[in-house]
Amino acid sequence: MSIFRMQGSFIDNLPKIYGFYTGGFIVFIGIMSLAEKAGMSADTIGLFFVGFTIVIYALIGWMSRTMQLDAYYVAGRQVPAVFNGMATAADWMSGASFVAMAGGIYMGGHPYLAFVVGWTGGYVLVAVLMAPYLRKFGCYTVPDFIGTRYGGNVARFCAVVVLVVASFTYVTAQINATGTIASRALLVPFGVGIWLGLAGILICSMLGGMRAVTWTQVAQYIVLIIAYLVPVIWMSNKQGFGWFPQIEYGDAVRKIAGLETVHQVGVLKPPEAVKGLSALTTLHNGPPGTFVSRVQFVTLVACMMMGTASLPHILMRYFTTPSVRAARVSVAWSLLFIFMLYFTAPALATFTKLQMLDPSLPTAIIGKTLAEVDAHTWVQKWSQVGGVKVIDFNHDGIVQINEFFMRGDIVVLATPEIAGLPYVISGLVAAGGMAAAMSTADGLLLAIANALSHDLYYKMIDPKADVRHRLIVARVLLIVIGAAGAAVASLRLTGILGAVAWAFDFAMSGLFFPLVLGVWWKRANRAGAIAGMVIGFAVGTWYLYMVYAGGMKPWWGIDHLRFGIIGATASLVSMVVVSLLTPAPDKETMDMVDEVRIPKGQTILGSAH
């Protein structure tokens, strides 16, 4: 335990500690597979996987407890670039990335790859435009930057509002995902699972703030990436596609194109819909062809990228590196670690599809008789929980493409069963999904609670509060916001991906241009920034309401998933116009911007501001 308190030696020993941890986790997987051979039930294995990993995270959270401001808000600014990269990757890859991404590609084909491009390319904006400068600034939170750069509580308050709305939209989806996984693995009702999941999330963040979240996120990244890659590589190897499925599925893509013609994918439509499930109606390699579908592809990419660069729980990870230079390198590492999962997801979607469509494989579903399809154990199992449904509309006794319905997330969750892998792999996947959802929820909750405790409480309400008070308020807020998130999540308002995309749109509508121009345009002033945040956010929200609930026809295919395009445009125009109509910032502010632009020298804000 003492190694966690002796900071110097802890940081020096990081590779050893996490190497040991990874080895321990692999040994645990080995023990579980022996237990499976000895007859341990599938449910018990799942329980062990999820339970054991949560206990480890909680232990790390407890050992990283702190009563120091710098440690609580920015992990003492000593997280090495590579480890911060892993933590960011876990922070970034949510339950949606882990569970829903491959399924989305399976159902949506090429157009869905806009998410893959958008959720990686956004890091170019983070590295080039933002992260190093925010690190030099020395802020604790994103509104801290807005509040100091533009001056005044109004600007700071606007940034807090945008941050809370965007992050809260996102966090409910994550708590929902932890609840779903926890309830399935721990064999409790969904309502109980949500609160258990929240308890796990809070233990990781409450005692040690950013420091605890950092070190648990690194541990969670290791679990989630092993859990994602192992089944895919195993399956690919078993099916004869080789050890590197990611670079070897080109022929599978072409083969699917031929099978799609045979099975009439896109020609046969289901005569009636099944709630929550879909039949395959989109071509795998059907790139956007019409003008509107091309606009939809690039606007979705743009929204996810600009959203990435405006989401505070991501930006604040780069406040924790030891230097500006390390912040830049760390963005590159983050993207490499994220890439590991994102370039595997399309491979997984392709292989799963091939297994379902290719009649020469034993796993085939489409074109087989009802009896043959029902004989698959995974079809039986998932039919019982409403994940799969077969309806023989034309009564010919054969399953056509428009008669097989499934939920997208099955592609990840059922892969081990579809390919006939041992149950220990399913347990591993459950632990991975849990790690992905928990790590993102932790980052988001901390971003919200820190903005409220630092920017709202300390900077605006009680600037004389001492360290003890500030840290107690921060923790109380964390619990309150977590509970609010869990309460909203238990209402199950939206599907996981809808809410996630909205968070990106909200963040880019309100924050993207005030953040970028704060560094790159000296002339940007307070009035302009406030206008940019308020008008961008208001216009974006109005557009969302109009196309989602108000019955308005979307402009050029810009639907509710892409409303950030409208919001961010309004934000840019209003910010530039208002800035130019009002006086330039004073010399002090101009000098501050000059200082932010160079890595050398002290941070703008002192270490205990």
Binding site: V116, N285, I598, P599
Partner: protein, 87 residues
């Protein structure tokens, strides 16, 4: 301080140019190649249709390589203009 200020100006000009170069690359691989996905699909790369490949993998690889290059280049600018942090 005049010398320092002109160094700062050189540093910022080079930084800005680097930003423009990287955002241009980013723009091409984020938007342009995907706009022309159908045309690219006529070509084959590692057995993949190229348009599909770029969206599933190609653009991502470009972004990763680009970010390591960016970190290296920007660090070089900082050091050559004397604006790097003291280690």
């Amino acid at each position: 301080m005049a010398a320092d200020n002109s160094q700062k100006e050189i540093h910022w000009n080079r930084t800005r140019n680097l930003m423009i170069v990287h955002l241009a690359i980013w723009f091409v691989f984020s938007f342009v190649v995907h706009w022309f996905a159908i045309a690219l699909n006529k070509f084959s790369f590692m057995h993949f249709p190229l348009g599909f490949y770029m969206a599933a993998q190609g653009s991502l690889i470009v972004f990763v390589v680009q970010l390591f290059a960016f970190a290296w280049q920007q660090n070089k600018i900082d050091q050559e203009t004397g604006m790097a942090e003291e280690e």
